[in-house]
Symmetry: C2
Subunit: 395 residues, 2 copies
Amino acid sequence: MNSSISTSLPDLARRLDDIEPFRVMAILARARALEAGGRDIIHLEVGEPDFATPEPIVEAGIAALQAGHTHYTPALGLPALRRAIAHYYGERYGVSVAAERVAVTPGASGGLLLAMAALFNPADEVLLAEPGYPCNRHFARLIEAKARSIPVGAATSYQLSAELVAAHWGPHSRGVLLANPANPTGSVVDAKALRAIHGVVRERGGWLLVDEIYHELIYDRNEPSALALGDDVIVINSFSKYFLMTGWRLGWLVLPEVLVPAVDKLAQNLFLAAPTMAQHAAIAALAPATRGLLEARKAELKARRDYLLPELQRLGFEVSAKPAGAFYLYADCSRFNDDSEAFAERLLWEAGVAVTPGTDFAGAEGRRYVRLAYTAELPRLREAVSRMEAWLRSG
Amino acid sequence: MNSSISTSLPDLARRLDDIEPFRVMAILARARALEAGGRDIIHLEVGEPDFATPEPIVEAGIAALQAGHTHYTPALGLPALRRAIAHYYGERYGVSVAAERVAVTPGASGGLLLAMAALFNPADEVLLAEPGYPCNRHFARLIEAKARSIPVGAATSYQLSAELVAAHWGPHSRGVLLANPANPTGSVVDAKALRAIHGVVRERGGWLLVDEIYHELIYDRNEPSALALGDDVIVINSFSKYFLMTGWRLGWLVLPEVLVPAVDKLAQNLFLAAPTMAQHAAIAALAPATRGLLEARKAELKARRDYLLPELQRLGFEVSAKPAGAFYLYADCSRFNDDSEAFAERLLWEAGVAVTPGTDFAGAEGRRYVRLAYTAELPRLREAVSRMEAWLRSG
C-alpha cells in the first residue's frame, strides 16, 4: 500500500461544488455523540417517523423471505404490487390509474432520479419552491439540468402558485416540481391552485411533477391527488412516510403512458429493480386491514402537531400558517438568533433538543428558520418544550 | 381524466436515445409468456444465480425485522457492516482497508452511480471494454460523461490491457472502468496486467475503477483484489452474486479516503441509505459460518461451467478461452446464424432454451455471440444441451 498516492489524486467532479451535505446529518452525529457521553437528547431533527413499521407489513416481509423471494423482480416492480398501487388510487382518491402506469422505485429518491433523467436535458430548468427538499435540486444538478429556486413565503402558503410559475418561467424552463404537502413547511397546495399551476405548465409545454410522499398525512381536510388533473402529470410517492417503511427503501411513480418505456429502460440500467422483500411487504401495506393501524399513527402525528404548534408560538417562534400536513413545523427563530445553524447547535448542546437549521432547505433566508420534526412521543415533546422554555429564558 | 393530453406531451430527454433497454428482458418476457402457455423453458438468460439466499443470511434479515430495524441507516451504511466489509478484505485478500473507506450502496448499481457522479464531468471520457456490462456506459451517459468503448478480443482475454488503455487514452480521458471478472465473458485480468493498467492510468492522471462483483467467483486460481495496488483505486462490489443476495439490493464501494465525504453527500442526496434489513443480513453473509455454504454454491457453479463449456464447443459454438470466473459463457454462434438476436429468438421459440444475444454487451460484433448464464442445475443444463443439439441438427 502506497499511502503517498492520495496526495496526487486527480480532481473530483465539479458538480460536487454545488451539492451540499445535509446539515441535519451533522446535527444527528453530534446528538449521537452527546448520547454516547450519557446526555439525554430529544430528536426532532430527522425526517423520519419514530414509529416502527406496523406488524402486518413486517410479517409480510418475513413471509416473503421465508418463501424464498430473494431474487430480482422486473425493473418496474412486482406486477401484483403495481396492480395494488393502481387499485389504491381508485379506492383512496377515486382516480383511475392503469397498473402499467405505475413504476415501483427504490424509494421516492429512485423515482425522482428516474423522472428527472427521463425528462430533462442539460441546461433545462426545473422550477422548485424555496424552501424545499434539497435533494430535488441536487438530482437536477446530477444530470446537468438546472434547478430554478423560486422563493415562496406566507403569501402563497409557502408553495408555488400559477402566478409565480408564470412569472419565473423562462426560455429554458421545462418543468415544475412541487411537493404537496411540502417539506419543510407542511404546506399544502389546494386543488384549485394546483389546477391553475397545471394549466400554466401545460400551456408552456412543460412537465408537472408532484411529490405526494406526504399526501396521506394531510390532517384536516381531503385533497385530491394531482393525478386527477390528467394523465400528463407525473406523481412521485413513497412507502416511507405514511406507510412507515423508511428503511425498506421503496417508492413509486405514476407516469403518463408514453413515459413508461423510457422509465423502464432507465430503471433496468440504473437500479435493476427495487428490493424484493420490500415489494412483497408493500402489498400488505396497501391492504385494507393495515389501514386502521396507519390511520392511528396519523392521528398521533396530528395530536403532536396540535400540541407543539401553539407551544412554539407561545415560546416566541413564529409559524405563519398552521401546517396542513407532513410532520414538520418550520419555525422562524430569528427573534432569538439570526443564524439558525448556531441556534440549532446551541439548542442541542445546551438544552439537549435536536432540530434542523433552515439552511438545509433554503439559502440565506434559511438562516431565520429551524425545522422541528414531531417524530417523538407527546411526553417527549412536552419535555422538549419545557427544556426550550428554560433555555430561551436563561439565554 | 383527459386522455387526449398524451398526444401533446413535451419531448423526453435526449439521453434516452443513447440508453438501450436490456434485450435480455424482452427474452425473459417472451420466455415467461411461453411458460404461461404451458411450455417448459430452460432459463440461461438472466445474470442472476438460481440459488436462493442461504438460510443464515435470510435468518439475520428476519431477526432484524423482528427487532424493529426498519428505520434509515446512515447514508454510508451501518457502522458494523462497514467494519465487517473492511475486516473481510483483511481476511480474504490480506489487504488492510479502513472501515471509513467503505460505502455501503443500494446494489453495485448504486455504487457505480455514486462513483461516476463523484469523478466525472460532462464530456469526460471513461474507457470501457467492449463487450461489457451495458449499464456502465449508461451511467456515464446519465451524467453527460462519455463512455469510450475499446473493442477487446481473444488476444487480451477479452479484457483491457495497459497497451490498449495507452493507445485509446485521449485528451478528455479521465478514467478506466474494468470488471474483473468481466460480464459477459467471465474473463479475468491477472495481477500483472492489472498493475500495468493501473500504472498507465496513474501516469495519465486518471482514475481506475474496478468492478469486483464476480471476484469471489474466480474458479481455478487466486487473484488479488485491485485494492492491493494502492489506496487510489476505487473498487465496486456487491452482495448479489457470490453472496446470493440479488433481490436485497446491496453493494459497496471501497474508496480513496479523499472521496469519502464526496460520496457521503452524494449518497445522502441520491439514495438517503441502502435498505436496512439487507444491511443487517449482509453482516451474516460475511460471517465465517456462512462461507462454507457460499463455497458449496461456488463449487456447483464451477461444475456447471466445466460441463457446459466443452459441450457447447462440441455443438459447434466457439468459446475462445475457458472463462476463469463469473457464471457466463460468451459463445460465438456465427457459424449457425450471423444475427444473434434472431438466433436467440429461434432457440427460445423452437427449443425452449433462453439465452441472451450478444448485442446487449457489444455493438455490431455482438451479433456473432450469445451469452449463456449457467444458472440452472446440471440436469437442466444437460437437457438444454440435448435440446440445442437436436435443434441445431434439424436446422
